[in-house]
């Protein structure tokens, strides 16, 4: 046992690059000529490859955003308005084109922070999170993100700038963001993650990021899949808004008979067909249309529904996630 812990410790040492100190160049109000510029360039170029390797494109439904991997087993930090909810499945693309499946964990809908997890086992390139609160106004920073969506020939787009405004729950930089960058990482010159891209203001230089500090405040709750707050960056699925997309009627015998399945509905996507006899939903017996209605009224979009059904005399089980009635 002792041997084993020593072994692990030895493995962990090279994985702790956070000891890098806050670069002194940040303490100058402006670079003084060539040497200072070269120092910024040197630090930036040193940090860029690892930052790039961990920056991902998030493809969720019809949307495209960005994110960054922060642990070897694939924990991702991104924006709440990118994942939009808890337990959503999506595809993650690394800069080299490699695709893996992931699912959203919790989020903070009040300040646009969200976590997600790659669900395929593996060892993923990742970046350290800045946890010492050493970031200051005027610091040199760089942004990465899949601006405008994934483009393998281009890679993610890098931008260098300064922190031009700091507030409790927001950083503002002059690294210009655009659609597709949301959820992407903002780094300091040591390559430590300091923020996640969130939104832009009306004027060109207003680019807002969620400081990593905000993530750390709710870390355990978010990792545990909690939906925090009531917006504006994400909306909690509302009870009674769950959408199944089928019409059923009573018939002679057990269960209810599917009369019609809506086009492109969750029911259709799950493979429910006209004529199927639904016996149970989530363990509750269905004896009339009203039974199904009453159960659905207690459910919200994205809730899971499991049906016991009979088709051609054979029993089977089908599961699906409810859609949104208002979508």
């Amino acid at each position: 046992m002792t041997h084993r812990s020593v072994f692990w410790l030895a493995l962990l040492i090279p994985l702790a690059p956070l000891s890098a100190e806050r670069p002194a160049i940040n303490d100058k109000r402006a670079p003084q000529g060539r040497e200072d510029l070269e120092e910024i360039q040197r630090l930036y170029q040193q940090a860029l490859p690892a930052a790039r390797a961990a920056t991902v494109c998030i493809e969720l439904g019809e949307g495209s955003g960005s994110g960054v991997v922060v642990s070897e087993d694939g924990l991702i930090m991104t924006a709440a308005h990118v994942t939009g909810g808890v337990d959503r499945e999506f595809t993650v693309r690394f800069e080299d084109g490699r695709k893996v499946k992931a699912k959203s964990l919790g989020l903070n809908s009040e300040n646009d922070a969200a976590l997600a997890q790659i669900v395929e086992e593996g060892s993923y390139p990742h970046v350290p999170i800045e946890k010492t609160d050493r970031t200051r106004l005027g610091d040199w920073v760089f942004a990465l993100g899949h601006s405008g969506g994934f483009d393998k020939a281009r890679g993610s787009v890098a931008r260098l700038g300064r922190l031009v405004r700091t507030a409790n729950s927001t950083y503002q930089s002059d690294c210009n963001l655009i659609g597709g960058d949301s959820g992407g990482p903002l780094f300091d010159l040591t390559g430590a993650l300091i923020g996640i891209h969130s939104r832009v203001g009306a004027r060109l230089p207003e680019n807002m990021h969620v400081p990593t500090r905000v993530f750390l405040e709710n870390w355990d709750a978010m990792q545990g899949g909690e939906f925090i707050g009531e917006g504006p960056f994400a909306q909690m699925p509302k009870k009674g808004k769950g959408f199944l997309g089928l019409l059923a009627e009573a018939h002679d015998g057990e269960g209810i008979r599917v009369k019609r399945v809506g086009r492109e509905s969750p029911a259709e996507a799950a493979g429910i067909r006209e004529g199927d006899i639904l016996l149970e939903m989530n363990g509750q017996p269905l004896t009339s249309r009203d039974d199904l209605q009453a159960l659905l009224e207690e459910m919200a979009p994205e809730d899971k529904a499991t049906f016991e059904l009979v088709r051609d005399g054979k029993r089977q089980t089908l599961s699906l996630k409810l859609g949104d009635r208002d979508a």
Binding site: R29, A30, P31, Q32, G33, R34, L37, I40, Q41, Y44, Q45, L48, E59, E62, G63, S64, G65, A79, H81, V82, D112, L137, S147, G148, G149, A153, R154, G155, V157, A158, R159, L160, G161, R162, V164, R165, T166, A167, T170, Q172, D174, C175, N176, L177, I178, G179, G180, D181, S182, H197, R199, V200, G201, A202, L204, P205, E206, M208, P232, F233
Partner: protein
């Protein structure tokens, strides 16, 4: 086209930033205090960048490529050279002449009467790594060019014409034959003399099977390529050469939300054989000028403002062969 995540929340951010600390504009990346640190590269901009203007209005920038007055600029931003003057350093030159254009790179070669200019050195064969500081011409003063700074931001690559290339015609299919229905104004098809009613037989020597196969062939071409097309008009069969254009350059494109937040981007912004990408702030009128590194080496020439955060430049090595080709074509 996927929905691209990014919120524009001008109102919601105001209360969130209450009590915040703010950096004076002077010290921001594009501010004068930071730009001052780059002053040692400014002479390169001063000597080798050109400003095309009509009266006091700046039209576009240019890059000086010979001692005796050859200048490259962005072709699609050059309407007419009538009444246009060119400023290099503190000198003004009148009567610039258009010698040649290259549609695939969207570059024009212009000549002014001058001697002893300082051309950019296009000997750089390998692009500097990402993260390298770059300097280009920003807003100019009457006698002085002003540095604008950024960094190498993405991989160098070919940028294909958005939506592929087109001949500039609309087609109908009758009994397996493709017939020209309409010829689009200012297109390669119009210049080659195509007419409504012409039947298309061959494209680049290959028999045209149907509309889909023709579209497939057009997808892999470059804007500016000249392709032989065989036509039938009445009893006559003949061949013409049609210059291909980017789809959006002929038929326009829908404005996306990203475009709406990008200010004045370049109308011609896709379809380039090779570009480097940087994040120097600017707009469509900042294109055409040279881009330098901290050593004052010419890295390339700005060719398109693509979006709020993406600008393309033609790499020096490509520019070098382009200059040689265009000057020899122009025969002077």
């Amino acid at each position: 086209m996927p929905r691209l995540f990014l919120l524009a929340l001008a109102l919601a951010t105001a209360p969130a930033l209450k009590g915040s600390l703010s950096l004076d504009t002077e010290f921001r990346t594009a501010g004068p205090a930071v730009r001052e640190a780059f002053d040692f590269v400014q002479p390169r901009l001063q000597e080798s960048s050109a400003v095309f203007q009509r009266g006091r209005k700046e039209l576009i920038f240019g890059t000086v490529v010979s001692r005796d007055g050859h200048i490259l600029t962005k072709a699609s931003e050059m309407e007419s050279l009538d009444g246009v003057s060119v400023v290099i350093g503190a000198e003004t030159y009148e009567d610039p002449k258009l010698l040649a254009t290259d549609p695939s790179w969207d570059v024009a070669l212009v000549k002014i009467e001058a001697e002893n200019l300082v051309p950019v050195d296009l000997s750089m064969t390998e692009l500097p790594p990402q993260g390298t500081w770059l300097i280009a011409n920003g807003a100019t003063e009457r006698d002085k060019r002003r540095v604008q700074v950024g960094v190498m931001a993405a991989k160098a690559r070919e940028v294909f014409a958005a939506g592929g290339t087109v001949l500039g015609i609309s087609l109908k299919e009758e009994e397996g034959v493709l017939i020209v229905e309409e010829v689009t104004e200012d297109s390669g098809a119009e210049a080659a003399g195509l007419q409504a009613g012409d039947r298309l037989v061959r494209f680049d020597g290959k028999k045209i099977e149907d509309r889909e196969s023709l579209l497939e062939d057009l997808k892999e071409r470059r804007a500016g390529d000249k392709v032989p097309v065989t036509l039938q008009r009445g009893e006559e069969t003949f061949e013409v050469e049609v210059e291909l254009s980017g789809r959006v350059d002929v038929f326009g494109e829908e404005t996306t939300r990203n475009d709406m937040m990008s200010g004045e981007y370049s109308p011609r912004r896709t379809g380039f054989p090779r570009v480097l990408q940087h994040d120097i702030m600017g707009n469509r009128y900042f294109m055409g000028g040279p881009v330098f590194d901290l050593d004052g080496n010419c890295v390339g020439m700005n060719i398109a403002r693509f979006s709020r955060c993406e600008t393309y430049a033609i790499p020096a090595a490509d520019l070098r062969s382009l200059v040689e080709r265009m000057i020899s074509q122009a025969g002077s």
